[in-house]
Amino acid sequence: MYHIEVLQRKLDQLMKEPDNPDLYNDIGVLLYQLKDWHNAEMYLQKAYQLDSSNKDVLYNYAQLLNEQYQWEKSISIYTAYLDMEPNDIEVIQKVGNTCYLIGDYQKAQKFYEQLKVNGEENLDR
């Protein structure tokens, strides 16, 4: 119930601010939580189109695509996210695994190498 009420409020708000990427992102996440994958993808895609430099949008959109087996597309969005957050080891691992899933072992291996370097750097610190 809580999600639906929030979603209703956000949709009302969107009527007033039709170009607000954060609103699209929030709605996409709510729909994702409600397991409405198709609409969640549409809203997150719109958020991404409006602001492809928003880390949250990139993360959420890539995550959704990944869940929907759109692995190649999710890899490219995750990569854009990693450009901004190069030390997010959870995402590095995720992308590495996704590269394995699409059969790109070269790339998968590179991400795991990066994971190793990041791990060592963290240890140095």
């Binding site: 087996y69 759109q70 692995w71 691992q93 590495g96 695994n97 394995y100 899933l101 699409i102 059969g103 072992y105 070269q106 998968a108 291996q109 795991y112 190498e113 994971l115 190793k116």
Partner: protein, 867 residues
């Protein structure tokens, strides 16, 4: 100052001159004084005692045991007293323990158990084992009969580890007098649990079970749990109820007894027996094994359980024999025999099971040790076992070895005659026959055997002569003469049948004759005689024994005749025994036919073994139809993908795998070894799947397993993994498969659609939904290579759903070199093993199923299945 005496031997005597000297001599070294109260002996008892230095006091017998024994105690001056009867002694080596026991400051008394050597083996109470205790004035006997020192006065009683040998059963009172006194005491002390218990025991010894239960039950209601006799009371009561077939009540008493006295293992043995009676064999085994476990770590609690460990082992052996675990039964019989060499039945059982298990060396070793020990009795039993097993060469060998101390040369000659006769060495047999004097008592027995040998070797003329000789021997019973005439007439065709009922002795003679004829491969003659055994109503055992003999000849018709003679309630047991015998000889088709005789009741664990054998038998017949390589052209070139199956991964995949596994090790997610150089692509992907699975990344794991399967499409492990993950979320994984986001690799599958069909086929195949699986596999029949991969599963689908004829037809068109046949066999192997695992789960103690599992595994893994 004189040192206080350590031990006073106390005795009450009356006309004991026969046994007294032995007893006094036995105790001479140990006892510091002998206090003897004589109740008016009229023989040499008093003189003997006085000469041995005993202090003898005369006393009038007032029919009061306590009075006399307490008088002994009043006179005794030792720190300890030991009560013995004149007819009792203690073995020398056990007596040596005595001084040490007397030095124990923590003991107030000791139980010495009594071994009765009289014919009347009575149940004795542990109360009567309290023979050695400190000489204190507060320790005095109570009751005129079955005197007892109340345990509330005497604490810290221990087990002495000493046994008294009671040479004869002697008592001052006859049973009637005893019972009268006991009843008087019961009237004097109403509600006394001890007196009720003793009276119950007396009745039990007289086998008056119903009356006994009444008194034992009333004793149980009033007994205190710290009374020395309490566990024994519970045991006697339950045993009594058991004898009356009041099993439920017996069970309840045993349960209570076990709760109160958990170290008293006799309860477990009796409960095991109850379970055995009720055919709850697993529970019986559990109780008896628990009993063995407790006995291995004996507790100090008293009284000690009475049932000897050899009895527990023997019961375990019997149960395992009942559930066809012959190997385990044999081991238990051997262990029981190790502990009790006097039990001849154990030796016969060992012989019987060793033969079934093809372990003749066991009997051979026992024989060697018997020869070394010069144990004539044991040797004779083993000879008998050898003769039963038709091991004539061994019998002759051992007769030559030990003949000198066998003494009776004619007896040796008679055995040798029989052995040579059976072995077909007629001349040697005749030499030994001639060594037996016609006046010898064994001559007639050998004469009849000689006559039988003429029947074996079709020497009818000689047989006629011998028959005349038999006629002339007056000491041979007329009915035996008539029987041998009848047998001769049956063999010579003078009569074709006879409706006479045989007497027990005649029956045994004819059975042995049939057994010997069958051993001599003369089934036709055996069949002529067999009807003689079918006239009377025999028990199940003789029919089963006969049927086993015919089972060895794979003769279904005769087995069927014998089956019909067995009472309805024994038919299942008959079937079980005979089927097992047939399977042991690999007569599978006959075993299956026997299974169909009579009611279709479950054979228990044997059902699974029979099913497995029949399955393999039919498979064997089917595979025989596969053609030789030259007879057909190569149908499928399957080598290419078989080689690809072994392909090694590229560097990038290897590096990814190593990093992934390293990461997993750091976070304790996986257990993957570092040396990966030998791994194939299929193995690497499978390992990756394991890592993802442990991380609960099921889709990634599913993808990895799918990829592994692309390299090695018939890998059962990978197939199971895929089926399991799929089964946990069918909707999601169906969608995932249909989505086709996953890439294809490997050399087998070129189209995702084909691979999806293959995967769905496997999933349904593993779920035993063969019709659905078949439909999916048939979808991928277009490509030659793919169809060869799917073909074994298609065969499996058809075979497992009962369409064996179609498989036979298709398989007959295959080339022996085709990989389809071994792959199909491998699928069948897994199918059989799954079914056997199900059986093993249901019959947890069944060695029969375990042996079958081992057999199936070995046959296929060694690639020696059928081809």
């Amino acid at each position: 100052m004189t040192e206080k005496k350590q031990l006073s031997l106390c005795m009450v005597t009356k006309n004991d001159e026969k046994h007294l000297p032995a007893c006094l001599e036995n105790m001479d070294e140990v006892a510091d004084e002998v206090i003897m109260i004589d109740l008016g002996s009229t023989d040499q008892t008093v003189d003997i005692a006085e000469k041995a230095g005993a202090k003898v006091y005369q006393r009038k017998w007032n029919e009061d045991n306590s009075e006399v024994k307490n008088a002994c105690l009043d006179l005794a001056q030792g720190r300890w007293v030991l009560f013995l009867q004149a007819n009792e002694t203690i073995a020398e080596e056990q007596l040596k323990k005595l001084p040490l026991l007397l030095k124990n400051p923590n003991a107030e008394g000791y139980l010495l158990y009594i071994d009765q050597y009289s014919k009347k083996n009575k149940i004795l109470s542990p109360v009567h084992s309290l023979r050695l205790f400190r000489n204190r004035k507060e320790y005095r006997y109570q009751y005129r009969i079955f005197e007892r020192i109340p345990e509330e006065h005497l604490n810290n009683i221990k087990d002495a580890g000493i046994r008294i040998i009671q040479h004869t059963d002697q008592s001052l009172l006859n049973n009637n007098k005893k019972n009268k006194l006991l009843k008087d005491e019961m009237a004097k002390y109403p509600g006394d649990s001890y007196l009720h218990y003793m009276y119950g025991m007396e009745l039990l010894n007289e086998r008056r079970y119903e009356e006994s239960v009444h008194f034992l039950e009333s004793a149980r209601k009033n007994v205190k749990n710290n009374y020395l006799f309490a566990p024994h009371l519970y045991k006697c009561l339950s045993w009594n109820l058991f004898s009356l077939k009041r099993y439920k009540e017996a069970f309840t008493i045993l349960e209570r007894g076990l709760k109160l006295f958990p170290a008293y293992t006799d309860f477990l043995v009796l409960r095991g027996d109850l379970y055995k009676q009720d055919k709850q064999y697993e529970n019986a085994i559990r109780d008896l094994e628990q009993c063995l476990e407790i006995k291995r770590n004996p507790s100090v609690s008293i009284p000690k359980p009475e049932i000897h460990i050899s009895v527990v082992l023997e019961t375990l052996a019997e149960i395992h024999e009942l559930i066809d675990n012959e190997q385990i039964a044999l081991t238990y019989y051997q262990q029981a025999y190790e502990l009790n060499h006097t039990n001849q039945k154990l030796l016969y059982k060992i012989g019987e099971l060793a033969k079934l298990a093809d372990k003749n060396e066991i009997v051979e070793n026992i024989m060697k040790s018997a020869v070394e020990e010069n144990n004539l009795e044991k040797i004779m039993i083993l000879m008998d076992i050898y003769l039963q097993h038709h091991k004539y060469t061994q019998v002759i060998f051992y007769l030559d070895e030990i003949g000198s101390f066998l003494g009776n040369k004619e007896q040796v000659a008679s055995i040798k005659f029989f052995c040579y006769m059976m072995m077909g060495k007629v001349k040697e047999a005749e030499v030994h026959f001639s060594m037996i004097n016609k006046k010898s008592p064994i001559y007639e027995h050998v004469l009849l055997q000689r006559l039988e040998s003429c029947w074996f070797y079709d020497d009818w003329e000689k047989a006629e002569q011998l028959l005349q000789e038999v006629n002339q021997r007056e000491s041979i019973n007329q009915h035996i003469k008539n029987l041998y005439h009848l047998l001769h007439n049956l063999f010579t065709g003078k009569v074709s049948g006879d409706s006479r009922k045989l007497q027990k002795q005649e029956y045994e003679m004819v059975s042995i004759l049939i057994e010997n004829l069958l051993w001599k491969e003369q089934e036709e003659k055996a069949k002529l005689v067999l009807p003689l055994l079918l006239q009377g109503q025999l028990g199940k055992e003789p029919y089963m024994k006969l049927a086993q003999l015919w089972a060895e000849k794979n003769d279904f018709d005769t087995i069927q005749i014998l089956f019909k003679c067995v009472k309805h309630e024994h038919q299942l047991e008959f079937k079980q025994k005979i089927i097992q015998h047939l399977l042991r000889n690999n007569f599978i088709s006959t075993a299956n036919r026997v299974n169909k005789l009579g009611d279709s009741k479950s054979l228990g664990a044997l059902d699974y073994v029979l099913w497995s054998r029949c399955f393999m038998y039919r498979l064997e017949k089917c595979i025989e139809k596969v053609q030789e390589p030259e007879s057909v052209t190569e149908v499928h070139n399957t080598l290419s993908w078989k080689e690809k199956e072994k392909e090694k991964p590229n560097k990038a995949l290897l590096a990814f795998y190593q990093n992934l596994s390293m990461k997993s090790r750091n976070s304790n997610e996986g257990i993957i070894e570092c040396d990966v150089t030998d791994k194939t692509c299929a193995e690497i992907h499978s390992d990756i799947g394991e890592v993802f699975e442990k991380r609960r990344e099921h889709k990634a794991a599913f993808t990895a397993y799918l990829r592994s399967l692309q390299w090695d499409p018939q890998n059962q492990h990978t197939q199971n993994k895929i089926s399991n993950i799929f089964g946990n979320n069918q909707m999601d994984f169906s969608a995932f498969l249909e989505e086709k986001s996953w890439p294809l690799e490997g050399a087998v599958f070129r189209e995702k659609e084909e691979y999806i069909h293959y995967v769905f086929g496997l999933i349904y195949f593993n779920k035993q939904q063969y019709e659905k699986a078949h439909a999916f596999f048939m979808e991928i029949q277009d490509s030659e290579m793919l169809s060869s991969i799917a073909q074994p599963y298609i065969f499996g689908c058809l075979w497992f759903s009962g369409n064996e004829e179609e498989v036979k037809k298709q398989i007959s068109e295959l080339n022996r070199d085709s990989h389809v046949v071994p792959a199909f066999l491998s699928i069948c192997k897994d199918y059989i093993l799954d079914k056997l695992a199900e059986g093993s789960q249901k019959h947890k103690n069944s060695e029969l199923i375990k042996e079958e599992q081992e057999k199936v595994r070995k046959m296929v893994s060694a690639r020696t299945f059928f081809i």
